[in-house]
Each structure stands twice: as structure tokens, then as C-alpha cells.
Symmetry: C2
Subunit: 756 residues, 2 copies
């Protein structure tokens, strides 16, 4: 038991201070490989970052990639300080680019190529082919740290580009492209440069945001210049005239190693300076990295897996936890919009992606963090009018489907997270559910709310009518949960009723691939539509055929305005997390439902790389066959996830994919907004949660192997546990869940056991 | 004719360059008295300002007054650089306070009292009682200029307070109160201080805005300190930690005269520095003021009145022109939100006030300016989603009634202003008219649009249902005008029809004070309401009685959410500027209408100090009795307007009251959105317009006197002119309108003559 107490103590430190203890035994953070999911569709951020870190330095390889980084041999423009992880759509950030170079100070751009790359948690290392300069990067919460090693026989130059950003487009005002607003730079002394970049637009088509910076070097510049546009001068500063600016610095020939701190702020460059000095009051690269590793290690130690776990699984698991905690970013104290004591988080990108598994996972690892995140959501409602579904650059500005912050709140509420004003949170939820956002209906709240309330569904013609209808009904269920918990019976009944609205788009007699009943487009008069109109031409009325496999409309229809967002009716028609029994009934009962699920997975209607189908593999639980869920999950992971750079099958979406994987490896899967986890055959033979209440909960899969992947029986704290779902409160009570595994389906788990 | 050519030439310079010519003869700007309308309700800004000037330095006397200034003996906190003029509601701005003082550097606040005040156009002068320090102020467009004269035997100290602002409230998040966000200050050298103030809220409940400054002195500081909160230190700067900051400066004992430039920017403090140096590249107080005076003089010379005009009338007239051109403010190149070549204006405060007379007057004085203002409105639609009805601090955020930018556009369109993309402008108008703003329906666009379109009126319960209904119908008329002009017949018909919606709230059988037919509250089912409900209590259903004289509800109902905004049904029921003939019909014909107007004015239903009744005195024109309009106007002006500090009967509202006065003194009154002026007995015997097309138009009132105040006959360019309205194109054609005056009503003017 000694180890247990040590770890409980460690957990205490996690919650209380960033103390300087070193960890016993192997470092779990050693298993994190930032390259997992960095290539292909994954798009994860590969550079160093603290948990929920505001500063994320990384190479920027052209202006195109969402995370800044692309695999070798792609060019490197330099290293920008702010990035996002795993996102799709138009890029955001990529601000304040610093680039070491060895030539004269006659150009503003210094593209080079990588000779090698060494990427580890909190550490990025590369050498440029042309200049031979080595760049090592680590970071603190609000300041990045660079060590440049120059060849002895080259010039020692550094460029700081306040005009660079990702997603620049030649098309004026291109949708989702970042647009340049202004920049400024100033050489403060022979070791300090400050300034800012001001950008608008990007993925969430947001208002202007400003990234202020303060860069300090450990060696003096022997020469410096600044630029505006293409014009390089000796001026100490370039003021903002809506042009791109930057600085060129030269160090002494003897300075083969130069270190740079880059403090970042969204308030002012002096604030960035304070962040740099407060975060990094020294010049030790190793200390910065050690502090970063410790923060992660403390988090990882809250979920420990058997040392006997295969290396690949260890790497997949802890990297998944790592990905889950890269975003949203903690900008408390860095909010230029208002000034109050509440936490402030930005880069919810997007909650539509993360509410299903990321939030529940953070709630288990670091509940206080989740409380702070939710407080910031509610405070954004109070100050800006609506909670975001997505927010970036201090601006709500994008909804993908529902107003899913409501589900995040319900999830916290039913799991008993304390420290949230749930009465105010309910007001925020009700604002979404009752006040049309109007103006730009894509930005926040619930677009199409008026017909949704009048008709009980959103008629075709309003963008994303299909998934908005079913997701709003899920959000309504979330409201009902909180209302009931707060003793508001009328509200509960009202929203519970509305939560059935998804049925209004259920076309029972529609048959496809041998399955009956799909969520299909309907007009305001209640007619089902097989031919969907598009465009507003008064002359011709062009249409296209819509079927349950239609994913996008014709190329000339904006795909984000389709009936369903990023998925087909086959997927969404199985995506009713709040009323699976109701869904089974709609589908014609258990037998038909099982058949439907089998066709879904076997005939290729399942789309592993998108969130709407996250829960679907587990739906077999509701027909008393959790072993079939287990089979599907095992197969999906085997086919799509691994510990390589291609190890994620889709955009990680701020850790959504990764957290889905982490839960399934453990053998528990949450149904966000509800207070239980589905139990299925894990990939990990033993997992121990070191909980915030200082209890521990252990899951043991006895005799687990590739063939013994069926649960025969389960005991909870020694007692027989026949149910295939586990209440959150039972997990938080601590104890031991033992799964006895065998090589064929067992009798266990005919019921979820949620009615007790 | 020589004088004519000189003046044409002058006008040319006005449009082309700010050349250095001096003016022949008396300076019209000498007649401007900034104190007119500064006391009582007028609230005009008294400090120096360029036309549409971004920088408006003025004393700030406590944090309460909207313009910063209050009459002696009120205390003076110091002199802030940004203010608005004539506004009601919660204050805005009052940023970057500089205060000379003679004591030690041990306090952050230095309140003093005025010994005297000398206020003239472009010049403010006072001496403090306690310190004996004299402060003289003038200003350029984007930088203010101060001359402080210290007593020989006192310390020479100056405080720069980056934390001060107007409208601070002890109530957290009080509506319309400005809220502090952050501030920063830095001593750059022994003659330079820079920093910023970041504030949110205020009258338009707007998002955060940042006022950056750069202050430069002509004498070095011998000592300096900075403060944060109450803590004074020797630090060279105070970074932004959401606290109030400032600087204390000390000059040498021998420096009895110290001059200070304060550059302002909404982009950055370096930009503020550039503004300071570009606007004022010297240290001559007189030169700064002379440049300012020249800008005004060139504008005033476009409307010249007879030298024989009584002094008081000259002062009232040119001060009225002056007030009309203080706002909105030209912030082209100072927009932190986006970056494009379009003009950018801010502080539309509010178009609801100014569209009636201010915009038409600017169109006559400086049409290019009006074009730029409208381009900025359309560009705000393009970038922010809606044109503002009110905008301040770079944020739409308030509508009072209609979406009245539409009328401003229609006014420019029917008057043939060139250089505006009217197709895009129409799109902006249609956005207002078709897309509900949602979220905060008070911020922009048309609140209550959905029922307005469904029912043809806005039912009671939606804030400002009454005036919104009639103002939207007026805005619809504006859309119809532009649509027709652009050849969109369908749109024209559709919106012309909608422009009759005001009739849907006309309660024909409702009688009050002997008059029948009023615009009255109606519910969604079409029932007329005499008892208005308020509040949402489910238990009791409190109501209050609504009548045509009801102005505000009970104290516990927010007055800005009443049925009518800032006026009674008596006023609004006569406020249908786009369909006066229709209104007369509703009122029961000419005779009943005249009786109604008489009761309105004689029995005290007329409210001189608010815009909804601006046109009402002229309504006699439509029943063929322009002489009765003339009588009313003369009486209203005599009773309510004069050349004293109490000379304005209500909030000047960015020049709305003043421009109403100016038109009536000339004897022409515009009906905004339509292409004519109503002719009535002027107060001025001769007025000459020096028009942008280099023509001139002269109005002569022959034999005008206090008794000869009735028009007997009119000739236009020598020909008999029987009509009581003059087309804008006839004015722009140049020529001479001669009014022969007599001591009793003449036969002239039975018809408006608009049907020819």
C-alpha cells in the first residue's frame, strides 16, 4: 500500500502546488509520443505545450497546415508561438514567427529544410539543412523557450516576424481564412524585442484578436534592423500602419548558442514581458522542460496502467491522455474583453467534438480543471450573451450542430462537480434554447431555433437542419436533467418532452440497404423530401437526390450547409445518445436494431473518423449484448488506431478522437450528460484511477488476451455485478471492478442496470 | 461677383486641401460659442475639436457628465482626451486624464477648482483656484495640445491618469455604466509617456475598446513616478494587471510654461505617437489652433448669412453648424477590427437622433463627408453584419427605434450623392429588414422583426413596440425609394406596401383630449390594450393604465422598454414623415388634422426636446397652411432656443437639435429620406449656399421683421413659385429664392407641389 499513499500524496500536490518533487520509478510522460496522430488526418500539434497551455511553439511549414507542422521534407518558415491541435477547417493562429538563419540581414523570409527531427513531450529539436542551425524548443504556460546552436563559421542571425500567420488566402475575405489586420514591432534594448500581430477571421470567422509578444535573448544583439512590408530599415520600431512588420537580429560570431524566451499575452506586450519573466525567471532550458514534464506527469499519475502493458499500448494510452489536455487553453488573466475573477478559457474548438469524451475524461483526471472550464463557459454567456459551441481568438463564432456546452454542463451536474453556479448555468442553457441568435445564425446559440420550437424540427433549407434537430433534442435532454436536479419540475417536463423532437424527422417507412426508418429531410409543411432544392434561383429550381448515404451536396452547395454536418443519415440515425431505447423502438425492436447495427458496421456505413458515431459501437449494450460492443470496439481500434504518426483515423479535434480511444482502452465508455459508463472488454489488463477525492478505483481484466476478450463475469468490490453500466458515483466511491475474461461471450451484461 | 469667385475658390480648397490661405473679412468661426447648449439639458461638448474630430479634450468635472464638463464651481478632476457631444444615457469615454498640479508627487488624484473659464472655438482656458495653474487647450484631429502656465513659486507637476473614465458606477455591471478592463503606462524618455486605457460598456453596453496615447512635453521631466492602484513607485512602467495606472511628472522650477502634445490612437501607442507628430510637427499652440479654425471656417463659408443679421442669430446659427459637425468622428485608419481602404467613422450616437436633420445638413455643407460616413456605415454592415443605429467604441450595441441608417442612405440616394455602392447599401438595408438580429435584440438591426413581418406590427410586450412599428414602416419606405431607383420594381412594391404598417397600430376610435385616433398598444391576437401588463410573474399579473400621454411606465419597468421610446402616443401618432397625407386621412381629414395639431401645440402635448416631434411643426404645410408652420416654428424657437449656455431645450444628441434650428433659421426644412425641403418664414433675412458643384443658391426674405414674418409670395430665379416645398435638385441647380414677407398670412403655398 505504500505506493498508493505516495500517489495520493502526489495527487494532492497536483491539486495544490507545482512542487519540486521528483517522481519514483518510470516516468509515465516518457510514453507520450507527440508524433502519434500528427500525420494524415490527425493533425495533432507536435510542439511542446503545458497542459491546456496558452503558448504552443512549433515549426510552421508553409501557411497551410492547421497545426503549423508538416512532415519532412516540407519547408520550414520558422517557429510560431500559438497553435491549435487536431483541428479541421480553416487554420487559426500561427503568430509571432521566429526564425534563425545564417545569412545577411537583407531578407524578411528565411525558409529552410529539416535534416532530422527529434520530438518528445515538452521538447522539439531539429537542424536546418541549409543554415546548419539547430533549434531546440520547450515551453512554459505563457512563454516559449528556444535554444539555437549556430555553426561556428556562419553568421548568427534571428528573424522575428510579427506579420506571419496561418491560413492566409489570396482570395479577399475568403471564408475561414485568417485576415491580416495589423502588426507592430519594437527593439527595446540589445536583448529585447516586443510587438504584436492582429488577425481576424480564421476557422470561426472571428473578430480581430491580438497576440502580443516579448522576446528576450541571453546574448546581446550586435546588430539589428526592422522591416515593414518589404522595406528593411535601421529604425528601432515599426508602428502599426496595417502592414506586416518584423525584426532582424544579429549576434556576435562567438555566440554559437543563443537562447530566447518569448512571452506571449493577449493583453499587451508589457504583460507578455511579465509572463516571460514570471514563467521563466532563469536561462536553463532543462529546468523549463522539467517543470513542463512535471505538470504532465502529475496528471498522468491519476490514471495508472499495469507495468506489464505492451509498450505500444502504453504509448497510445498516455499520448491519448496528453492530446485530451492540450485544449481548450487556459487564458485566465489574459482576457482583453473583460476583467473579473472568473477563469477564462479559449479555443473551444469545438465543443461539438469534445463534449462526448474529452470533457468526461478531464472530469476523471482533473475535476477542478473541468469546473474552471465550465465556469468560463458560463461567464462567457454572462459577458458575451451566449456560451460558445466553438470559440477561438476571444470570439464565439461557430456552431457545428447543437449548443453542446449544455451537455458539458449536464455532464458536470449529474457527476456532482462542485463550484459551479448551476442556476446561472441553467440560465445560459435556456438562453440557447429560447433566444434565437439571429444575425449570423452560425455563430452561437441555436440556429433555426424558431422553426425548431414551432414545428418540433428544423425544415430543410435551414443549414444542418438534420443534425441540428437531433442535437437540439439531445441538448434539451441536458437541460431537463439539470432542471430536474434543481427542482424545476415544469422545466424538466417541458424539455424532456422537447428531447423527443428527433422523432419528428424519423421517416419510418423509408428503406435503404435493407433497413427501415431514417432521419430524413422534411419541409416546413411536413412533406418528406427526396429531391433537395438548393440555391435561390427564381428561374430554375435545381435539385439533387438525397439518400441516407449522401454526405455532401453537389460541389456548388456549401458543404457546411448540408442536411447533416460531416456525416450521413446512416450515422446520424443511430446517434440518439439520450434515448437509445426510444431509438430501438423506432428501428423496430431489438432484433431489427441488431441487424441494423451489423449492416452499419459490416457494409461500411460507419465512419470512424467523425464524432457523430462515437457511441454507436456501444449500442449493442442496449440490446443486452455488450460483448458485441466489445468486438466492434476492439476491431475498430485494431483497424484504425496505432502508435505511429498515422495512428489517428481522423482530425483529433482537440483530443476528441484520443479521449474516445483512452476510454475504450480502459473498458469504460461515458455517455456524456449522463451519470454512467458502459463496461466492455478493455484493451488494458489493469487500470487504476487515483481520484480527486483521494480514493482509488481499480479495473482488473483477469486472463485478458487477444483471444480472451470476452467478459464472462464481473465483480464490484467482491460482489457479483451483472450490469453492463457503472454509475459515476460507484466509481468515485473507490474500489475494484474485476472482469473475468474468456475466449467466448459470457452470460454477463444482459442489462445496463440503470433502472435501479 | 468678385466675392463669389473668391468663395467658390475657397470651397474648392475645402474639398481638396487644407491650404494655408487666410480668410478675407470677418471670421464666421468667431460667431461660434461652444458654451451654447452646454448647460441644462444640452450637454454639448465645450472643449476644442476639429470637424468630426477623433480627439476632443475637455475638463472632466467628476465622472458623471456625458460631455465631461460641468459649469463652475464644480470640481475639475483633470482633462481627458476623448469625449462625445450632447448625449443622453450612460456616459462614454473620458479617457486619458491629464492634470497639472503644484504639490508633491504623493497622490494620484489632484482635484482643483476653476477661477475663470474662457471658452472659444478651438480654445479652452482656465486657471485653477488652489494651484494657480493656468491650462490652455487646443487640438488637432488626432492629437490634443496643452499649454500649462505654473505659478513661479509652486512645484511644476503633471499627472497622466490611464485609469480615469466617465460613468464609473459602484454597482457591478450597472447598465450603461462604463466598466474598467485594464490600463498600462510607460515613461519612454524624460519627455515622453505612453500607455492605454481599456474600457467596456457605457451607453451602448459595448465591447471593450482601447484608447492608446502618447504624451510628449516640450520640457524634460526632472522627476517622474508611476502608479498602479494606490501604489506609487519609481518604476518606469506599469504593465496591465487589470488595475488603474498612471504617471506623475515633475518639471524644473524654472519651467513655468510647459506644453504637452497628447496623440491618441485606437490601434497602438506607437500609432498615437505618429498621430501626435504628424498632426503637430511643431510646438506652436497658436498654429495648432489656427489650423483648427481654418478647417471650421472653410465649412462655415459654405453657408453665409447676411452681415446685417443680429449678433445673437449669427451666434446661434454658426454654433448650430458647429454642433452638427462634432460627430460622428472620423477614425479612418484607426480601426482595430479590420483593415481595408474604406472610410471608418465611429460614435454614431445615435442615428435615430441625427438622421432627420444632421445628415441632410452635412449633405449640403460637405457632401463628400456624408458620402464617406455612409460608406463607413455600409462597410460596418459588410464586416460586422449590420449597419449601426448607434455605434460607439467600435461596437454597434444600441438601437433606439428603427434601423435608421436606412433613411440616411435613402436621403443620400434621392439627393444623388455619388461614390456610394447603392447596390451593396441596399443589401445592408435588406439585412436589417429581413434578418432578425436575435441574441441581444437591442444591439442592432430590427428587434421584433419576426412579428413585424408576420403581423404587420409589433405586439405589446416586445420593447418599444409602438415606435419600432412606425419607424420600421418609415425605414421600409426608405428601402422602397432605393429599390425603385435601382430598378427593382418588385422590391419597391413589397416595401412600399410594408411602409403602411404604421396603420396597423392606429386605433381609430380611441379618443383623447377631444381628438380621435391614436397609435396604441396591441397584442399579438390583435386586441387593443388599455391595461398594459409588465413583468413575468406567474402568480400575479400586474398591469398599469396606458393612455396617449403615458411617457414612462411605473418606476419598476425599464423605461427604454416602454411602448414608445422617449415620447408619448400624442407625439408618435403625428410622426409619420413618409406618409403625411395618409396620416391626415387617418385623422379624419384636413380640418380635424389642423384641430389636432392645434391641440397638440396649445395644450402641451408637443415635446420640443425630443426628435420624434421634429417634423410636426411643419405638418401644417400638408393642409396648405405653411404660414401656420412658420408661426409654430418661430414660437418654438423664441421659447426654447437662444445664444446662452441654456440655449438648447434638450440633449443636442450629436447636433440633432442644433441642425433642426439651423434649417429653420434658414427657412428650409428637410424631410429626411425624401428629396425636398419645406419652405417657411425664415429667421434669417438672407442665406447663401456655396454648393459643392460650385454653384450658389441664395434665399432672400424681403422685408423680413418680427412682424413681417408671413410669406406673401415667392419667386425662384425671378419666376413666381407658388409651392411650399423646394426640390433638392432645384437648390443644387443654384439660383435665388426670394420670399416677399408681410405682416399677415399671404395666399402663397397652398400646395407642396411635389406631384409635378
Amino acid at each position: 500500500m505504500r505506493k498508493f499513499y505516495v500517489l495520493v500524496a502526489l495527487f494532492g500536490m497536483l491539486l495544490t502546488s507545482m512542487s519540486a518533487q521528483t517522481f519514483q520509478g518510470e516516468l509515465l510522460s516518457e510514453y507520450v509520443d507527440p508524433r502519434i496522430g500528427s500525420e494524415g488526418l490527425g493533425r495533432v500539434f507536435v510542439g511542446p505545450s503545458c497542459p491546456f497551455g496558452m503558448v504552443k511553439p512549433s515549426p510552421d511549414c508553409t501557411v497551410h497546415p492547421n497545426s503549423g507542422w508538416l512532415p519532412m521534407p516540407e519547408q520550414v518558415n520558422g517557429f510560431a508561438q500559438v497553435h491549435v491541435s487536431g483541428t479541421g477547417g480553416g487554420p487559426k493562429y500561427g503568430n509571432v514567427l521566429i526564425t534563425p538563419f545564417g545569412s545577411g540581414m537583407d531578407r524578411t523570409e528565411h525558409i529552410d529544410y529539416r535534416e532530422y527531427e527529434n520530438i518528445r513531450l515538452g521538447y522539439y529539436d531539429t537542424r536546418f539543412k541549409q543554415s546548419g542551425i539547430r533549434t531546440e524548443i520547450t515551453t512554459a504556460m505563457r512563454a516559449s523557450f528556444y535554444r539555437f546552436t549556430y555553426p561556428a563559421d556562419s553568421l548568427k542571425s534571428l528573424a522575428i516576424d510579427a506579420g506571419f500567420f496561418l491560413g492566409e488566402s489570396p482570395v479577399p475575405d475568403a471564408r475561414e481564412a485568417q485576415q491580416f489586420v495589423g502588426s507592430e514591432i519594437e527593439i527595446l534594448s540589445d536583448r529585447e524585442v516586443a510587438g504584436y500581430t492582429r488577425i481576424r477571421g480564421g476557422w470561426n470567422n472571428g473578430r480581430a484578436y491580438t497576440v502580443y509578444f516579448y522576446a528576450e535573448t541571453d546574448k546581446p544583439f550586435v546588430k539589428s534592423a526592422t522591416w515593414k512590408g518589404d522595406h528593411i530599415t535601421n529604425d528601432a520600431y515599426q508602428y502599426d500602419s496595417y502592414e506586416k512588420t518584423g525584426a532582424l537580429l544579429r549576434f556576435a560570431d562567438s555566440d554559437t548558442v543563443v537562447q530566447v524566451k518569448v512571452g506571449i499575452s493577449f493583453i499587451s506586450s508589457r504583460r507578455a514581458q511579465v509572463n516571460a519573466h514570471a514563467n521563466i525567471p532563469h536561462w536553463s532550458f532543462e529546468t523549463v522542460r522539467r517543470d513542463l514534464v512535471r505538470q504532465w506527469e502529475q496528471l498522468f499519475r491519476t490514471i495508472q496502467i499495469s507495468p506489464r502493458t505492451p509498450e505500444a499500448q502504453k504509448r497510445m494510452f498516455y499520448t491519448a491522455l496528453y492530446h485530451t489536455m492540450l485544449m481548450p487553453v487556459d487564458r485566465t488573466g489574459e482576457n482583453p474583453l473583460w476583467n473579473d475573477p472568473e477563469p477564462y478559457y479559449d479555443d473551444f474548438y469545438a465543443i461539438w467534438d469534445t463534449y462526448r469524451t474529452s470533457s468526461p475524461l478531464i472530469t476523471l483526471i482533473d475535476p477542478q480543471r473541468e469546473v474552471d472550464i465550465i465556469r468560463s463557459l458560463v461567464n462567457i454567456y454572462k459577458r458575451d450573451g451566449y456560451m460558445p459551441d466553438a470559440r477561438s481568438g476571444n470570439c464565439n463564432g461557430r456552431t457545428q450542430g447543437g449548443s453542446n456546452a449544455e451537455i458539458v454542463i449536464a455532464d458536470a451536474f449529474v457527476k456532482g462537480l462542485r463550484g459551479i453556479d448551476y442556476e446561472q448555468a441553467l440560465q445560459a442553457m435556456l438562453k440557447d434554447a429560447t433566444v434565437p441568435p439571429g444575425g449570423n445564425e452560425e455563430a452561437e446559440g441555436r440556429g433555426g431555433l424558431v422553426p425548431y420550437r414551432e414545428l418540433g424540427y428544423i425544415p430543410y433549407g435551414i443549414p444542418r437542419a438534420g443534425n441540428r434537430t437531433i442535437e437540439y433534442s439531445y441538448c434539451d435532454y441536458a437541460i431537463a436533467q439539470v432542471a430536474r436536479g434543481l427542482g424545476k419540475e415544469d422545466l424538466y417536463q417541458e424539455y424532456l418532452k422537447q428531447s423527443g423532437n428527433w422523432k419528428n424527422l424519423w421517416r419510418s417507412d423509408y428503406e435503404h440497404a435493407g433497413v427501415k426508418g431514417f432521419i430524413m429531410p422534411r419541409d416546413a409543411d411536413g412533406n418528406w423530401l427526396d429531391q433537395l432544392p438548393f440555391g435561390n434561383s427564381k428561374l430554375q429550381k435545381p435539385t439533387f437526390t438525397y439518400t441516407p448515404v449522401t454526405f455532401e451536396g453537389p460541389w456548388y452547395t456549401p458543404w457546411w450547409d448540408m442536411f447533416f454536418y460531416e456525416a450521413s443519415s446512416w450515422e446520424y440515425s443511430l446517434s440518439i445518445p439520450h434515448d437509445v431505447p426510444g431509438l430501438i423502438a423506432q428501428c423496430g425492436g431489438s432484433e431489427a436494431f441488431e441487424k441494423r447495427l451489423d449492416i452499419f458496421f459490416d457494409d461500411g456505413f460507419f465512419n470512424v473518423n467523425n464524432e457523430p458515431s462515437f457511441l454507436t459501437p456501444c449500442l449493442y449494450h442496449w440490446i443486452g449484448k455488450p460483448w458485441r460492443s466489445g468486438e466492434r470496439i476492439r476491431q475498430i481500434i485494431a483497424d484504425n488506431y496505432n502508435d505511429t504518426p498515422m495512428g489517428l483515423p481522423g482530425n483529433d479535434d482537440s483530443g476528441a478522437m484520443s479521449s474516445w480511444l483512452a476510454f475504450h482502452m480502459i473498458g469504460l465508455y461515458p455517455n456524456a450528460g449522463q451519470d454512467y459508463y458502459l463496461i466492455h472488454a478493455p484493451l488494458l489488463e489493469e487500470t487504476t484511477f487515483y481520484l480527486s477525492n483521494r480514493k482509488q478505483f481499480k479495473i482488473i481484466a483477469r486472463n485478458l488476451s487477444d483471444t480472451n476478450c470476452y467478459i464472462q463475469s464481473v465483480t464490484l468490490n467482491g460482489k457479483d455485478y451483472p450490469y453492463s453500466a457503472l454509475r459515476h458515483k460507484d466509481l468515485m466511491a473507490g474500489g475494484e471492478l474485476v472482469l473475468v475474461m474468456g475466449d467466448r461471450p459470457g452470460a454477463w451484461g444482459n442489462e445496463l442496470g440503470l433502472n435501479n
